[in-house]
Amino acid sequence: MEYINQIKLEMRSKSENEAFARSVAAAFTSQFDPTVEELTDIKTAISEAISNAIIHGYQDKVDGIIKMEIAATASGRIVIIVEDKGVGIEDIDKAREPLFTTGNSEERSGMGFTVMESFMDKVIVESTPGEGTRVTLIKVLDQTNGF
């Protein structure tokens, strides 16, 4: 897959950066004339992945490093990779189930991965306990947009 444009971003595991990551994704993706819905879908999925890295990966510690990569292919595919070096996930299949959460059940709904899957065309989760997690989100933009 050849990318026509690509950026890499490194940020700290501070919750302020959730909004920042969404803005960056919106600014990058805007180059490719997405619809308002496509842009919102992408922002929502990224928000889930970054929040997960902060809350679960780094367990609310603010000095973790989160990497985000966003790339676009000539065929209108937006590929986003969110990576943390946090605690990792023991059972990925279970983690992806709707309503499953290891977080504070008063705060977390266990719907993060379900939302990502619903709003993106593909979600790949790779994780090693003790080493970290890497979530790949793929969205195929509507070709009629003049891509």
Binding site: R22, T44, S47, P98, S109, M111, T114, V115, S118
Partner: protein, 117 residues
Amino acid sequence: MGITFEMIDDILIAVLSGELDHHSSLEIREEIDHTFDAFQANNLILSFEKVTFMDSAGVGVIMGRYNKVRSKNGKLVLSGCSEYIDRILDMAGIYTIAKGYPSTKEAIKALRREKGE
């Protein structure tokens, strides 16, 4: 994210505005609970009309408030959810614990109707 409150009878109306994510949910969660207790409210309307972005952190906020309101034997209802927010709430099964209305006015009417029964 901003929040303003209004009290009608024993109904607290919390009008959320801006972006509702994990970061902003931390603050508004406390603000809602604190105001709910201070005003001795029984019922709660969460208005989403002015919410410009929401992810699953919004679902967490609603579930937490549901438990709070239920402890007062009150009701939680939602108003002004966009099609987009609706999709997330529906996915999470939120409408089985809290009904949604197009506007706050209709939400108030519905709460009053139930009390009248």
